[in-house]
Amino acid sequence: MSQATTTSVQATTQPLAASRLGFGALLAVLAGALLLSITLAVMVGPVPLAPDLVWRVALHQLAPGLIEPDWEAFQENIIWEIRFPRVLLGAVVGGGLAVVGAAMQALVRNPLADPYLLGVSSGASLGAVAVILLGITWFGVFSLSIAAFLGALLAFICVYALARQGGRLTTGRLILSGVAVSYVLAALTNFLIYNARDGNQVRSVLFWMLGGLGGARWEFLGLPAVALIAGTLALTVQSRSLNALSVGEETAVTLGVDTNRFRKQIFALTSLLTGTLVAVSGGIGFVGLMLPHIVRLLVGADHRRLLPVAALSGAIFLIWVDVLARVIVAPEELPIGIITALLGAPFFIWLMRRTSGALGGGR
């Protein structure tokens, strides 16, 4: 002990200031990379477009009259009506899934958790598939998204009701209820698909379930973007409690977290955010599982750094995966979920091997 006290005389504020500076710089770099990714992703496609054109069109749209348009109408149409919404939706969904994944892993204290663990995506699938197969168009272009969100909400309510026990929500019951509800909803979804007559419908169902950003429009962007920003802020201000909970249930109590209420809040918040994202993009897998782990390797497990960095990295990641989905089999495109799964599965195996000591009775 004595040798340690002699070293403790050094200036103690230095690591704090240094880490803040480093973290601020990291956020700035990621924000720059995000902007660059958006630009490049809008440029890439069957009609190649110059970077300055991308931003001149964007500026013209955001502040009309500032620039004299010297481009073709079809270029403006491709940039503003097709590619921008799609790239931005990718950013919102990728960022959102990464944030929810990180929070979900803390909530159930399991590194293998992802945003879909507790049944939200199964509910959304049921809603979406019902709308596609039954041809419901009550809400116009929003029908699919609204149905998917309602399905997600239904799943959330079922899991919540099942997991509650004497007013308390335990982690074990949460996971079991989530898995049970997922199976039931998946069975209903499969029943609907099995009874479908129209091959085209089945194909569009499959495409939806694998996830994709092809249907992106500006109208679909607002709500998810607001949900992402509000959700990330709400989770980030709770970082201390998320840290404590990810260390242990009892630890969280002894550090002043009202674990019962906190778990309910986080469960509701992550479910609603996931529902909003899945409603506009389908069930894009692996992003919510992988990104939090990669980000932890970068900045550690403290949620105050983890969540903002996850939001930015998830956004960048999904933008590029979507670029791949568009160019690999152009002019066709792949469901984005196929690519995230192909990238994700090896990662999952690596993660499993790396953490097997801790996961499998290493204690």
Binding site: M1, A4, T5, T7, S8, T12, T13, P15, L16, Q105, A106, R109, N110, P111, V237, Q238, R240, S241, N243, A244, S246, V247, G248, E249, E250, T251, V253, T254, L255, G256, V257, D258, T259, R296, G300, A301, D302, T355, A358, L359, R363
Partner: protein, 266 residues
């Protein structure tokens, strides 16, 4: 801080684990809980640090009922060193100890230089200052335990609950951690396995068996061969140690006793 536990009972699935336990910790005193496995030590402590809500009875810190406080208010007054060990996520040692500051923080508060000083100080006290940037998950059991003690210190409470605090420590750190805790002068209640450590460090000892207090008092009054036999079913000799002046317990395993007798009779 004075701690009063009055008639606390707790049961699970119809089985009573803690039965009408009453105990009292004088301000600044070190109170030990001893008893065999399953005697309800940990459960009793959990009712105190608000993980298990008692079916009956109450627990007062000075005049305030812990079960009527918010979790946060309680954590500002009680620090706990648990046996629970850190989860699966890769926090640094500094981050782990910094969590001890969270009960004192509002949602939007940042960590201050003062918090960092408290954390460094706590790490120095347990001899882990040079480990601050290490990953908690890579530490040995004993190192983890010392970090968790540092976290409790960083919480800066007037009451400390320790659930077998020296479990993973080698003898050097067992003594060091207990010396450290005693030296803090805060009210402490600790579940302990080692009767000799209990005799060395406790002002008062409560003996639990089957969820009930079967004896209590200063070590000299409690640690008698008769009591040890009736609670642990082990024969022991108890005598003041010539150097420390505290009681020393020597266990007399049955097997060795008979061998000794045989050798003499030959």
């Amino acid at each position: 801080m004075k701690v009063d536990v009055t008639n606390v009972s707790w049961s699970v699935a119809g089985v009573q684990i803690v039965r009408e336990v009453s105990l009292r910790c004088a301000p600044g005193s070190f109170v030990g809980l001893i008893g065999p496995n399953g005697s309800g030590k940990s459960s009793l402590l959990r009712t105190i640090y608000r993980v298990l809500q008692p079916d009956a009875g109450h627990i007062l810190l000075d005049a305030d009922d812990v079960w009527r406080m918010s979790a946060r208010k309680a954590a500002q007054r009680i620090a706990v060193v648990l046996q629970e060990h850190g989860g699966e996520f890769d926090f640094s040692v500094r981050e782990m100890v910094l969590m001890g500051r969270s009960p004192h923080k509002n949602l939007l508060d940042r960590d201050t230089a003062e918090d960092m000083r408290i954390v460094d100080d706590a790490l120095s006290k347990v001899g882990m200052r040079s480990f601050a940037e290490r990953s908690f998950l890579t530490l040995s059991g004993g190192e983890k335990q010392r970090v968790l003690v540092a976290r409790a210190l960083a919480q800066q409470t007037r009451f400390l609950v320790l659930d077998e605090p020296t479990n993973h420590l080698d003898i050097h750190y067992q003594l060091e951690v207990l010396d450290l805790v005693r030296g803090l002068g805060v009210t402490t209640i600790a579940a302990m396995h080692d009767l000799n450590l209990a005799a060395l460090y406790c002002d008062q000892i409560y003996v639990l068996k089957g969820g009930q207090v079967v004896a209590s008092g200063p070590p000299e009054a409690v640690l008698t061969p008769e009591l040890i036999y009736s609670v642990y079913r082990v024969r022991a000799e108890v005598a003041p140690h010539p150097t420390t002046g505290r009681l020393h317990v020597v266990f007399l395993p049955l097997g060795m006793m008979t061998e000794g007798v045989d050798a003499e009779s030959r």
